[in-house]
């Protein structure tokens, strides 16, 4: 009888107090402050950029992003200041996307080779080399692109143009093929391949061994196992690696500065010898900028900052969506 009466009273859930011991408390503070620091830094950088460039956005509005002119005024009113970054913004995306399209198949192929086909000893050597390649400064890639790759790139461009000239992207107006978005994109691709390969290989290596074994046990080939298990399992890692590479390509300065003709005109013909990139624009103009131009450059930096942030958030969303099916 007692038991029946008891069950009628539904208790309020108790509050559970968590007591951390000393070591935990200290460690907790350290890691919390670490996490907060990066967040605060990011916020401060964004705020700095925004405050410094507010005047530009106020003066020029949306035309700062859509216009295609970068003229420093003469100061006496004869030539007036006119700053906008349209072609640089599209150029940034164009070069980065070219780089990514070239780099992804190479990186995924390389990662699969390293993880599933390479003999053990070769794998070890190649992994070490890959990490080394990821650490090479982009200036070196730029110089290599200028001194070595450009001549190949030009020949490839001629070939592409003669075979696929009917495609709008590949058509050119003047048959000068050097210093084009295509060549810059190729060099950027070689720059980002190591990091993407490294990230995707790491993810591929975490594919559960028994799933791969199951594919083999069902009479599947290595490629069958890769297609059935490894690629679906590694999808989020592939996207993550791609976004890491894209982020690097978007912000790349020196290599693009060395390899691309910066021309303030919208250009989507990838073999044409003109293009642009926000980061290299800033590097080019920074040295002799007037005070107002400096603000415009900071504003350009702010746009790049937002672009990279947006790409990363998009990546995070895609990764989250593609890992739902478990």
């Amino acid at each position: 009888m007692d038991g029946v009466a008891k069950t009628e009273i539904i208790p309020v859930p108790r509050e559970l107090a968590v007591v951390y011991n000393r070591a935990d408390r200290i460690f907790r503070r350290i890691v919390t402050s670490g996490a907060l620091t990066s967040l605060i830094l990011l916020g401060l950088i964004g705020m700095f950029l925004f405050v410094k460039s507010a005047q530009i956005f106020n003066d020029r509005g949306i035309s700062f992003i859509t216009g295609s002119n970068w003229t420093a005024g003469s100061g006496d009113g004869v030539i007036i200041d006119d700053f906008s970054i349209g072609p640089m913004l599209t150029g940034t995306i164009l070069v980065a996307v070219i780089a990514l399209i070239i780099a992804m198949p190479l990186a995924i192929g390389g990662a699969l080779y390293l993880e599933f086909y390479a003999p053990f000893r070769i794998r070890k050597i190649l992994n070490a080399l890959l990490d080394l390649a990821a650490a090479i400064p982009s200036l070196i890639f730029g110089l290599w692109g200028l001194a070595v790759f450009t001549s190949f790139g030009e020949r490839w461009s001629v070939l592409l143009n003669s075979r696929f000239g009917w495609i709008p992207f590949i058509k050119v107006q003047n048959e000068v093929f050097g210093r084009s978005p295509f060549i810059a994109g190729c060099v950027l691709a070689s720059l980002i391949v190591p990091i993407i390969t490294s990230v995707t290989r790491e993810v591929f290596s975490r594919t559960p061994r028994d799933l791969i074994d199951t594919c083999y046990a069902l009479g599947g080939s290595r490629w069958g196992a890769i297609r059935t298990v490894v690629l679906p399992f590694g999808r989020s890692g592939i996207i993550g690696g791609a976004m890491l590479g894209l982020g690097r390509a978007l912000g790349e300065t020196v290599a693009v500065y060395l390899l691309l003709n910066i021309v303030f005109r919208y250009n989507f013909r990838i073999l044409e010898s003109e293009g642009g990139n926000i980061a290299s624009l800033i590097a080019t103009k920074f040295g002799e900028a007037t005070e107002y131009e400096l603000k415009a450059l900071v504003a350009a930096g702010f746009v790049l900052f937002i672009l990279t942030l947006a790409v990363n958030m998009l990546a995070a969303t895609i990764v989250q969506k593609s890992t739902v099916r478990k």
């Binding site: 028994d210 199951t214 594919c215 083999y216 046990a217 069902l218 009479g219 080939s221 298990v229 099916r325």
Partner: protein
Amino acid sequence: MKTLKQGEIAMVENPQINVVTMVEAHSPQSNFRGLEAKNIHAWFGKHHVLSDVSLRFPERTVTGLIGPSGCGKSTFIRLLNRMHEFIPSAAMAGQVLKDGEDIYAPEIDAATVRLKIGMVFQKPNPFPAMNIRENVLSGIKLAHLKVADHDSIVENCLTRAGLWKEVKDRLNATGGSLSGGQQQRLCIARSLAVEPNVLLMDEPCSALDPGSTLRIEETIKELAEKIAVVIVTHNMQQAARVSDFCAFFLTDGGPGYLVEAAPTKILFTNPSDVRTADYVQGKFG
């Protein structure tokens, strides 16, 4: 009782094996149907892990492999369908004959071997990106087999694995939505879809609850009406319940070896080796 290393000899010398079984299991090689391991050795690098194992797995029988951990049972079973060679530095010696044909012969394609000698693993592992139906058909896709009627294969395999009634209304659900035991039966159905003649099972029930284990054991018995089943198990009662023949492996710190192999009843009630008797009575292991 003297130490025996080869299952065949143990079985021949054991007077209590009935003659019919002996003839069936040890008919001349030319018309022996099933799987036969001859003088198998295995190494990982320089480490000798398995020494001189010979065993026969006739069609329509269940053979249980028992023994303490680290005695080479799993290595041995992986040798039977050429999964062993995926481990870097793994090496082997001896022969594995399927219906009299050496599966390690140079001209044999290992993938074709595995198609006919299927395997179910310890942990239930349906492919996570696929639904139940796709999981069952995955082997057919992997091996590029041409089949006319996918639906009847799905139904047939799930029925043989004892899962059809439970999942027939939700074939589009992911494998992960099933319980552990159901997942393992799905894995069995997946192995059956490519129509193997031999099914190797590496502790298929060790991650499951007793109820699911019982269901799987029933499934195994039904499967053995058509094919040969080889099952590694740590569970002595399971070996006693489900197998027709039993092989006992042991290691003395060196490579694992076969102590004796016999019809299950004899191995459990009247083994020829004292270590087998100790093990099956739970005195060690």
